[in-house]
Amino acid sequence: MTVYDTARDTAGDTSSDTRLEDATIAYSKAPSAGQPVLRVERLGKIFGDQNLAAVAHTGPNAGTEKSPDGNSVVAAWDVSFNVAAGEAFGVIGESGSGKSTVMRAIAGDHSSTAGSVWMQRRDGSTVDLLTMTASERRALRVDELSVVYQDAAEGLDLGVTAGGNVADRLTAAGWRNFGQIRERAAELLGRTEVPLERMDDLVRTFSGGMRQRVQLARALANRPPIVLLDEPTTGLDASVAAGVLDLIRSLLEELGIAAVVVSHDFAVIEMLTTRCMVMQHGRVVEQGLTDQLFEDPQAPYTQRLVAAARA
């Protein structure tokens, strides 16, 4: 399988058959790369029968992620990438390409078949998220790793007020002073541009764009070093999506939070990320600097995607 390396050294050899692990090494030399806060190594997830033999018969070359016997789906395989502190990394691909699988594996929403996800913790130690217990991961989600879901109902309690949804994360982190909780929730909702007069309304009564803003406020409540954004603006109408994107970008920059942004939408990846990777049939087909990747796509699949988006 060929992985195209868009962030290639233009003066040097640009052998196009660089294996994924080599490509990963190449990225650690990328100009913006600091100490990685997240290091995904050869992550793999097979749904259905855990049949490793299915891997050889799937992927872009096979043109499918489903095993020949139909009993396994290799949703993601051999996925590796680094995210530096404060950096936004994009994962792009069409529906079923495995990008959400990668995100859910990192978030701990489901178990993984192979690989590791190393994360640098606040105390400087490094842990493999995939070997943590479910309750350890939930603890991590309180203040070190937040997720913003496409469907706000997954990330929010719709029967609770906007302020209450933010308060949930604060109380989980041990806040016990009502005045401070209220103040902090108002501050966060203010930053994510939720009108304060709506702070005490149930999220169920909110529009899609407003719900995403509440999700953002909740995700940022305890200032996590890493945020995962899964299609954060999909399903919003264009003008609302643009506003939410603007907000995400400025917040990430301002707070210096590292992000993994998953989207099928080029505009989202282009606006938010400096580096990204393209997935197809559960594999990474190309990764590199976002600008270069869109200007000069190497993989045929990426070329088709870019052409379709530019059309």
Binding site: D157, T161, A167, R169, T171, F178, R182, D200
Partner: protein, 309 residues
Amino acid sequence: MSATLAETLDAVVGAEPGGAATLADLVTEPVDPGILDEHAKREVRRAILTAVCVPGYQVPFGSREMPVARGWGSGGLQITLAIVGVDDVVKVIDQGDDEGVNAVNLRRLVINTTGAVETTEVDEATVIQTRHRIPEDPLSPDQTLVLQVPVPEPLRGVERNMATLAQMHAEADYARMWVSLYEDKVRNGVITKSTGYPCLVGGRYVIATTPIPRWDIPRLHQAPFLSLFGAGRERKIYAIPPDTDVEPLTFDDVPFEVERTPGASCSLCRASEAYLVEIPPSSFGAADGRWICSDTAWCRRRRSEDNLS
């Protein structure tokens, strides 16, 4: 008891008393079925022991059918039946009242089937079964309080999924309980949750304090006596052992307050330092006031002491 049983059985099958092969002859061992058989009592006691060992943890138990409907104190009744013997003195109160219909019926049931002795005086009782109150008088270490619990799950209001609830308790993840208090305060300006206020027991498990009023909550903290909570319908038993911390979930800057009506006093005994309940005008001949003590035995004793002095 065996003779009585044999006679009863004789009567049922229509045998001649003293006849040759009456059922009385067939009953070789004295049998006192009571309401709970010994196996059931043992099962309840085991659940109680677990509950005492893990304060605040809801222990599942079998919850047999009782001669009262579930929801009418069947959980408390099973605990009482499992722990009382002929040496025990039992007091039963319903909303603080020994003479409530349910209290009287449960007390009779316990007395008639166990041989324990009944009382309405707190200091005489060894076991006090109660619905919704703790007696005003302080209890001693050799007394056991048995509370009837309708809803043992404190998180029921914020989560319906049983698996998620178990997980939340296992991880001591009570954030959503705090959110419900936050929402209460935001919506109403004060925390309106009054009865069954959620409390952290022994720094670990949050419990539902049954519908006892907030007034009684501070008296569970570091109490000298054992409290046993029985929920018959939900098949759960939990406990607060003596000398255990019981802290109502309270924001640092919003003090926990007990119910108090300024200026109110009992229209019978004039007490203002007790938990008072509002009564309709002209009830109990108390046309001159709207409040009486919830704990009737306490109120009665105060009045008799007044008369003596």
